[in-house]
Symmetry: C2
DNA sequence: TTAAGTGCAAACGGTTTGCATGGAT
DNA sequence: ATCCATGCAAACCGTTTGCACTTAA
């Protein structure tokens, strides 16, 4: 693999943006180098993910979010306001164990988000 | 609301198919009535969801799955083979309580799937 | 001089919109 | 006469593909 300027830019963007859609990564990269094409963003994200440098999470609607593969956490998406909160992975430990024994299922807590109603939205309609 | 033939067909399809994408619902409906347009499927699914007769779940990639709003369960999606298993909602009770106290987050266990590796895929690469 | 990386355009799957027609009240 | 529901076509967003051009090994 060659660490081309484009690839470095994508990685830099992810380090800065924390969680970003391919589209957002592209915009960020294009501020520095406007010629970079979104196709390259997609291809680079796929590559970086194969190298385990990057992960993506499906938040429910629309495009997935990419982030550097560190500090894993669980995503809590509010389906009313769209706000995304985070919780340490450890909150899933118990569930993880249950699913393993009951289904033989190895949970990957980071990959899919949890959906629900966030605190402030829940207060609006008590 | 008027229960038109099209709407009844969509509801019937969901009762029969259990979990289906809008596309799959459409194909099923069109076997009985080929003239029904996919736009109507989308509009009807949205309507039925507002009436709480129907729910949709994001399984990660591609189109969401719709089902009649009964016997709620958690979806376990294998990100290797794509297989979807189900688990009773109660497996999330503990997590649900933790998220409520720690984040004020009201978990909606049915709406988003859990991602991981299913039993048979896990055995292939032990 | 071969292979990998890129940009561009075009296709794609899934979804939404605008608009004109049709039926039920 | 009005309004809701439908079909159709076109636009839309996010993503992937094919292909030609470039560049580094």
């Amino acid at each position: 693999m060659r660490m081309t300027p484009q690839r470095q830019l994508v990685l830099d963007a992810l380090l800065e943006l924390e969680h970003a859609t391919p589209e957002q990564v592209c915009q960020h990269v294009q501020r520095a180098t406007p010629t970079v094409n979104i196709t390259t963003i997609y291809r680079t994200l796929e590559l970086l993910e194969e190298l385990d440098l990057v992960r993506h999470t499906h938040l429910g609607h629309g495009a997935p979010k990419y982030s550097v593969h560190e500090h894993e956490h669980v995503h809590l998406v509010c389906h009313r306001c769209g706000h995304v909160d985070e919780s340490p992975r450890s909150v899933m430990d118990e569930l993880s164990a249950v699913l393993r024994t009951a289904h033989g299922f190895e949970l990957d807590a980071g990959h899919l988000a949890l959906s629900g109603t966030c605190q402030s939205c829940a207060q609006e309609t008590p």
